[in-house]
Every structure is written in C-alpha cells, then in structure tokens.
Symmetry: C2
Subunit: 337 residues, 2 copies
C-alpha cells in the first residue's frame, strides 16, 4: 500500500447534553481509503480487526469525507482482486449529526432496517453507530419511557449510585404536579357536599369507582404507548384505534357494571345507590377509554413524547372527572337540585 | 476439501409455546466441520456468506455434535494456513435448550456479555441466537413487562390486528381482579361511617390522599423493576434499597405534608382536619415507600416476575391500607372511639 489508510482516531468527547448521539457513537471503527484495490483493502481490513465483532460494512473515505459504504461480504467474495474498491462501494444513505437527539434518531431507526449509521459533521465522518450502539440507544429510550411511565424524571446513573437527595429532586417535581392536579377532587367533593350528606353511602364507593376508571384507562395507554414506540400504531390509525377502544370498552363497561351491581348488593345499601354505582361504572369506563386512547395520539401529534401519559397521569385525570360523573348521576337519581 | 462441510438445515419449527427459545433461534447459520484447515475454513466461510451480517464467531462441529466456537478474527488473521482449525477453537461456554423459557434466558444473558448462544438439544446443535435474536428476545421481554405494568395480559399480535373481543378477554381478567381487591375500600369506609358522618369534610380528601400514596409508590416500583430487569439491582441489595427509599420518602413525606397543609388551609376547613390531612400524607408516603420497595424484591425472591407490580397494583394496595391510616388518625384527633 502506497499511502497510510485512514482509521478514525479517538476524538475527545465534546460536552453535549446526555441525549445527544455524540454520547453513543463509537470513534474506533475501520475506514478504507477509496484508492485501495480489493486485495489491499482485504489485507488492511483483516489487519485492523481488534475484537471478535466483525463489521458487516465499513465506510470508504477520501481524506475525512465520507464516500460510501462497502459490504465486507462483497469485498471477501470479489474474484477480481485488483479491482478498485470504488466499484463495489454504495453511497451511504442514512446518516445523523453528533448533536441529534436520541429520541429522534430512535424514531427514525424504527422506520428502517439499518445496521450501520454514519455520524457526519460538516461533511466529515466523525463517528458511527453499529448494532451495539443502536441497541444501547433503544435500551436507554425504553428506560426513559419506563421512568416517565412511573411519573418520575429520568435518572442519569444506575439506581444504586443515586443519593436520596437526588431521588427526592427527581420525584418531587412530578409528585407535586400530580398533587396539585389531584387537589381539585377535593373541590369537586366539597361542591357536592349536599349530595354526600344526604346519602353518606355514596362516599363508600369513591375509591372503587375512580380506581377502576384509572385502571381501565391505564390498560389502554400502556398498550398504545408501547405500540406507538414500536411503530405498530401511527397517527393515521387514530380512527381505527378509537373505534377499537370504544368497542372494547363497551364490553368492559358492561362487565364492570355487573360486578359493581353485585358488590353494592352484597353491601346491602339499597336499590338506588346500587343503580347509581353500576351506571357510574359503565359511564366512567367509557369516558376513560375515550380519554386514554385520544390523549397519547394528540400528544404525539403536537410533538410531545406520549410516554409521559403514565398511569398516575391517567388516574389523576379520571379521578376528578369521574367524580363529577358520579355525583351528576347521583343527583339525578336522588332527586337533588 | 475432501468431505462436505455441515451447514445446519432449516429444521421445521416444533410447536412450542410462544415463550420458548425455539421460536427465536435461527437455523440458517454457518458451521465448520472440525477437520478443516485454516485455508479450507476461510474459503468455505467466505463462500457461505449470504447476507451483509458477518458472524464474529462460528460453531465448529463433528457431525451434529457441537465442538466449540471459532473466532473469525482469529481465522482471518492466522498466518499458518495449513493448521487444523481445532487448534484455534474455543470450547463453547454458554448454551441453552430449545424449550427454555424466554424470560429465564434473558435474565441469564443480562449477567454476561454474550454475542452468540448455541441452542443444543440432546447433545446436538439445533440452532443459535445471534445479536439480532438476542435483541429480539429482550425487546419482547420489555413489551411483556410494559403490558404487565399496564395491568393487562400480554398480547401475542400487533395491536391493530387484535379484535375488541380478544382485548376484552385480555383486559377484563386483571380489571376484575383489581376491582375485587379495590372493593374492600368500600368496606373500610363503611366501617368508619361514624367518623365520616361526624366530619363530612374528611371525605373531600379521600381521592387526594390515596392518589398521592399510589403515585409515590408507583415512582418507586417502576424505577426498581426496571433496575432489576437491567441487573443493576439484585436481591442482595435489598437492605440498601430499603434504606435509600425510606430516606428519600422522608424528604418526600415532608414536602407533601407541607403541600397538604397548604391545600387544606386554602379550602378553609379548620385546624383539626388540616392537621389530620397533613399527618396522613406523611404516614401514607412512608408506608407506600416501604411497601413499594419490599414487594418487587419479595416477588423476585419467590420466583415471580416483579413486573407484575404495576401502578394499578400498587394503587389498589395503598388505597385500602391508606384509608385505614387516614381514619385511624382522624378518630384519634376527633376524639372518636
């Protein structure tokens, strides 16, 4: 070989934010200069292998500029060993920038089958993502979603290394927000004080009714958020999703209405309350289904990660609105107002 | 080459259950017979490549029996091309059976760095898991965890292909279980009817108090369950986890107690109820922290997937016990019983 082929050096990591691709890319990968022959490229490639990971494709460069991608299978199987590798090189299709956001790149990768992603900055190849890095990106994305689903801010370090002080800061933000949102349930109940006083038995079913509404909503959002993350459900499927969820929740509403009827009858609290509780269960389940299937899609539409729609989020939303449904039905059947 | 090297054939898939490794393993991989020389093995290996995925290691076999694993890097870099590949082969360390459960294999893989897993049945190599298959296993495991966290039975098909009827079956099981568990909140409230009647304002704070207890517990379990799935937290860390969570929840309890004080004062419902609400918030938060950090670890200990501890599960558990805490405190301060 007449000139030294280029092998990307270990660049110092710039101080990007924790979600930037620069944090994930590798800089120690093999590149082949575009003037090599098949034979020269083979020899160079084999000599550069340092681990058991054999890349399926390598970048072909001219100086630091990315020229394309060469399949190692093609390189090893080519019969004409004096051919210039330019003739075997494909121009590279998918590349990202070092300061691209992780979530955005994960979403783009979900839509195509890619094993190798070039990281390019101002026309220069500065790094790449191979299968391991892509898997790492996706794993961190899932972890962040799980933390959002638990209504806590994402943790940057392994759990055992985090101090109670940091955990408190991460958690109290969401807890206080949910507390403030949930606080209006007190105002709702205060507003219906008269109904409560005239039939104290109404209070007995408050946790059961709002809990069940929250649970049936959580089932929907968790399935939907995951399906959206996997790319199984897209925004254009919104109509199908809502139709499916409303049909399902009709079945579920009838099941739960029956269960509520049975429960109220077991407690022996009279026909009227039994009727109110059962009817409320049906209405809350349907209401919860509509809210829980629409909200993740609306959030996605306006560019917010639907993973923020956690069980606590849905529960808080259903608690207050569910109480209004409950007491409106109660007022009607008890002949109040 | 004097004899035909073995390339594993496409075995017909046996009808294992959906979680068996047999569903994931590939059967179209390259194997090298153990009598080949370095040169013979190289030629054979290159001729067998069909896709751009270049395996980093291949299996060496004698007949159908697994002899070991050969690093392709070693094969390509070896200078002595007439050497028998037996001299370069490592005996294979980690292998699984085709009817092993997915969750068990994922847990075992989390504890080691493995890129290639042999699937062996009665001493014969029947398949393998490469990086893609391992990633696929892990992805399905996460999806199942997410579905458990949403308190629904795992779905076997993409969301849009599932009928409302199937969704109803998958969801109503958990919903009814949670409904039955939550139903005892009605009995708790009925038991404390006297306290409720003497101070109806106590009812106003029921959703806020139990909701907040559920939320703070959910934050803990979702972080913990994920850390356990990633292998960051193990059973022997139980003491550290509980200490960390109790310290954190002391800080959170004080924060929420203060918030509750403010909220009750804003509603103008008197000193006594304000005190009862704030104190209950402190107690429920601490109680919730203990329950939520112990339960996932106890479940893991007795061999149950801790991912079943979903937000609805924690909420249901805290709802009833939280109400008992609330009314016991109320009875004490209101001088009842």
């Amino acid at each position: 070989m007449s000139s030294m082929p280029l092998c990307a050096a270990h660049h110092p990591m710039p101080d990007f934010n924790g979600d930037a691709i620069a944090q994930y890319m590798r800089t120690d990968f093999i590149t082949l200069p575009d003037h090599l022959s098949v034979n020269g490229a083979r020899e160079y490639f084999v000599s550069q292998l340092t681990t058991d990971d054999i890349p399926g494709q390598v970048f072909v460069v001219a100086g630091k500029a990315l020229r394309g991608v060469l399949s190692i299978k093609r390189l090893l199987q080519e019969k004409d060993t004096s051919l210039n590798i330019n003739h075997l090189t494909d121009s590279c299709l998918f590349h990202v920038k070092p300061d691209d956001e992780r979530a955005q790149v994960v979403a783009e990768l979900a839509e195509r089958e890619v094993d190798l992603v070039a990281v390019v900055e101002r026309g220069e190849l500065v790094g790449c993502l191979m299968e391991k890095e892509i898997a790492h990106l996706q794993e961190d994305d899932v972890t962040e979603d799980v933390q959002l689903q638990g209504a806590t801010l994402p943790l940057e370090k392994p759990y055992l290394e985090i101090s109670p002080w940091t955990l408190w800061k991460k958690r109290s933000v969401w807890l206080l927000l949910l507390f403030v949102a949930e606080a209006y349930t007190s105002s709702v109940l205060q507003h219906f004080e008269e109904a409560l006083e005239s039939a104290i038995a109404l209070a007995f079913f408050i946790p059961l009714l709002i809990g069940t509404g929250g649970n049936s909503g959580t089932q929907i959002t968790s399935t939907l958020v995951r399906s959206m993350a996997l790319g199984e459900v897209r925004l254009r499927d919104m109509g199908r999703v809502i139709r499916k969820e409303v049909s399902t929740s009709l079945l579920i509403a009838l099941t739960l209405g029956l269960a509520g009827c049975l429960r109220a009858w077991m407690m022996g609290i009279g026909m009227e309350i039994t009727l109110i509780v059962s009817l409320t269960l049906v209405c809350i389940t349907l209401w919860s289904a509509v809210v829980s299937s629409v909200i993740p899609m609306v959030l996605k539409r306006i560019g917010i990660d639907p993973a923020v729609v956690s069980a606590p989020f849905i529960a808080t939303l259903i608690d207050g609105t569910g109480l209004i449904i409950y007491f409106k039905i109660a007022q009607h059947f008890l002949g109040l107002n």
